[in-house]
Symmetry: C2
Subunit: 471 residues, 2 copies
């Protein structure tokens, strides 16, 4: 594996780009930038993929402005790369053929909240914490919580999820309707506010996870949930990863409606102890949370405690008070930063896979054997109720042998997950970094994806070089 | 509105059809039929749309046989119409341009059950009751329950749901992976057994609800659920429909995890009393069910009782014993047949719409005004937790004025639902009968659907004249 092989070569249309930069500069004035720093910031990726900057950035304020930008780009066959907050992990916002980045951060208006229907409509640049702050007085919340405070448009584009997905689903479940600008600048509204529909092809779920390659998402209607009357949560230590995985499997099989069930391996617990001033036993640990009525969460917590004990785990120490839970979950949310502290100065490379839950223990065990054999410094943290886990590899980028080992490790992990009936990404998305795995995962399905891409974006101007661009 | 306008004219390719009939007769022997009775049975629809029979029926036994049939048809540009159990409601299995019906009833093998992953893989012809009978000893069940004992492939194709959808979702949520035969005979596997994935376009959810127009579904991997430890259920009478709707809205808004919440209007209750020997008060009534632990379902039932009372409803009489609940839910499942008894000899035409729940009371009230003004005989029954309801119109087909009134009523109901931010079908699908509403519901999205159809089925041989065929 070499980094270059992850980034497809796409021809630049220099003449078209020069013209479009001039047109958009005139049209958008101060809300267009071709400054080097701004361009590079918009191709910033949280991976180790090299930055490929766009040629200019439009700071759009409305669906119509996005449509206008796309129309100009379409006319001159220039790529368009939507940009939310730049927290994607696989080179999603890189511009391998140059082009125009559309920054959605100024499209940050919450357009409507319908508490009686448990939904809201937002512009694509609204972030998840902004939405939840806005909802605070309604008794409702939006549950999808990827690590970053991502934009909701970006979360839809990458089919993001997070710690609550085991109970509340992922962005595919959360998005009821979308407004999107298609490759020719047409504005399309998909789905609706009804809770279900059988009226034609599910364009909403086709666009969710399409990473800007089929349309630019500009507005979203999202399902909301009532803030539960009671929440209980706590931590449970396990002697090893296998025992912890078994407790997760048993919990899911019992139909216990767990709201969050997160696995941290020993390295990750050690990192969290140091970073977030916790005093957890440094052993594989589950962070668990239940949502419901006072009686319900107590009953569920007790039941989980029994399951954990039966599986060989330690005591499940739980509380319903907000402070203690908040401390724990803040630590969980800071896990990435904590893990970075395991090896100061190293570059952190995060990868995620997802497997059927019956294969979770095997998959993590085999992955751990690789980590040991290869002598890598890693931390594992997972949304294990869904069979989804992340490995953060801390790499000394001055050591070519270590880079090669890390690359081989990641590759082996992805093939392993696919071969176990799983997927090369549970929630990070494909971008540039995971294209190489799609043929093995989807077979002839990849050709179907390409046919759809060609039909909806015949000139290949929407985020080219991503998802379906692999050879 | 005229019936003819619902059925698009599609040119027949007589020469191709003659040839394909000969090839398939030779290839499949007794598992091919061109007998008039068999052909007509395979275009039987539960609507009042005229029957348009295919030219022959293949009784396939494997994905490979379906692929072979599609390849033969593709070679000679002959339509292919997948057939499950024929319980669809909008002319889905009609053959307006003739062609070959692929009967899936012999593809009825349950291929694998993975209790540890709460999933199973089945051939498309397995019916929902067959699957649940098979699962009985596993402690698991498959919750999606449309009125008919439909095939799971057909249920996926129409994005079916039923009484449990408010808690367990619809077929879009239940299907994890699909095997489908595309228009050129290629076999594609979409999705996988991981609980979530961000690895490319969501082909699974594109095929779910595509009604055989994008591919022929031959196998499905389905999510299963643990049979709840306890179930409580009962009925609650209300003085009027509005009060009943308000109780539903309040229940959903409170986040009460209701498993089923079904509205029956006075006519429907009267019909059920007569048909199923019940003695319910003949007034709008909610059938409600909770799934959980013993303590949980008790707590939830009590809470629902309070909500109903607060909204002006009568007593919520509930029980946890299976017998009483079974009697009630059998009556609910027989509601269609019961309602047919309201007017013996009449033709029953069922239509369904779905609106945001805040508009449910309004939508039903306006619909009732139409029913009164037009002097129609109807019964209303709804999966109201989702904002979804059905109207069965009982029509004297010898009375042209009454037919015209019923058609106008249905048309007004569909426009009303769309204009309220809802959809022209919550679960029945489009088929031929609802194509006329799609332009208003989807706008430019319909063009996107057509572009996808053209890309994946350029010769328009997969179930032509449905969904996207409207002018």
């Amino acid at each position: 594996m070499s980094l270059a092989s992850l980034q497809q070569t796409v021809d630049r249309n220099d003449a078209g780009i020069d013209l479009v930069v001039k047109i958009l500069a005139q049209r958008f004035g101060e809300r267009f930038s071709a400054a080097q720093a701004v361009r590079e910031q918009h191709a910033h990726t949280t991976t180790w993929l090299p930055t490929q900057a766009p040629d200019g950035v439009v700071f759009a304020r409305s669906t119509e402005e996005v449509a206008e930008t796309v129309r100009v780009c379409a006319e001159h066959r220039v790529p368009v790369i939507p940009f939310g907050t730049g927290s994607s992990l696989e080179g999603h916002v890189n511009a391998p053929a140059g082009g125009i980045s559309i920054d959605m951060s100024q499209m940050n208006e919450i357009l409507a909240v319908h508490p009686e229907d448990l939904d809201c409509t937002v512009q694509a640049g609204v972030t998840r914490t902004q939405l939840n702050a806005h909802l605070r007085d309604t008794g409702l919340f939006f549950p999808i919580d990827p690590g970053a405070d991502a934009s909701l448009g970006g979360m839809a584009a990458t089919r993001a999820s997070g710690t609550n997905a085991v109970r509340y689903g992922t962005m595919k479940d959360a998005v009821l309707a979308l407004t999107a600008v298609m490759a020719d600048g047409r504005i399309v509204r998909t789905g609706g506010r009804a809770r279900k529909s059988s009226a034609g092809y599910d364009l909403t779920r086709l666009l969710v996870g399409s990473e800007g390659t089929l349309g630019v998402i500009t507005e979203l209607t999202l399902r909301l949930h009532g803030i539960p009357e009671a929440v209980s949560g706590g931590v449970c230590p396990f002697p090893d990863l296998e025992t912890a995985c078994n407790a997760v499997i048993m919990t899911i099989q019992c139909g216990l409606p767990v709201a969050r069930i997160e696995l941290l391996d020993t390295n990750q617990v050690r990192a969290c102890n140091a970073y977030s001033k916790l005093d957890l036993a440094e052993t594989p640990t589950l962070f668990v949370e239940f949502h419901g009525t006072q009686a319900g969460v107590r009953e569920q917590s007790d039941l989980f405690g029994e399951i954990a004990r039966d599986c060989g785990g330690g005591d499940f120490v739980w509380a319903t008070q907000a402070e203690e839970r908040t401390r724990l979950w803040s630590a969980r949310h800071d896990a990435y930063w904590a893990a970075m502290g395991l090896r100061p100065g190293a570059k952190g490379v995060s990868t995620d896979v997802c497997v059927p839950i019956s294969r979770l223990a095997d998959c993590i065990a085999e992955t751990n054997r690789d980590i040991e054999t290869m002598g890598l410094v890693t931390a594992i943290v997972g949304h294990v109720g869904d069979g989804n886990f992340h490995v953060l590899v801390l790499v000394d980028t001055d050591d070519p042998a270590e880079i090669a080992a890390a690359e081989e490790f990641i590759e082996r992990l992805n093939w392993r997950a696919i071969d176990m009936g799983g997927t090369c990404t549970g929630e990070h998305g494909v971008g540039q970094g995971k294209m190489k795995y799609l043929a093995r995962e989807h077979g002839a399905g990849l050709d179907v994806m390409r046919a759809i891409k060609t039909a909806l974006d015949p000139m290949n101007i929407l985020n080219p070089g991503k998802i379906v661009a692999g050879g």
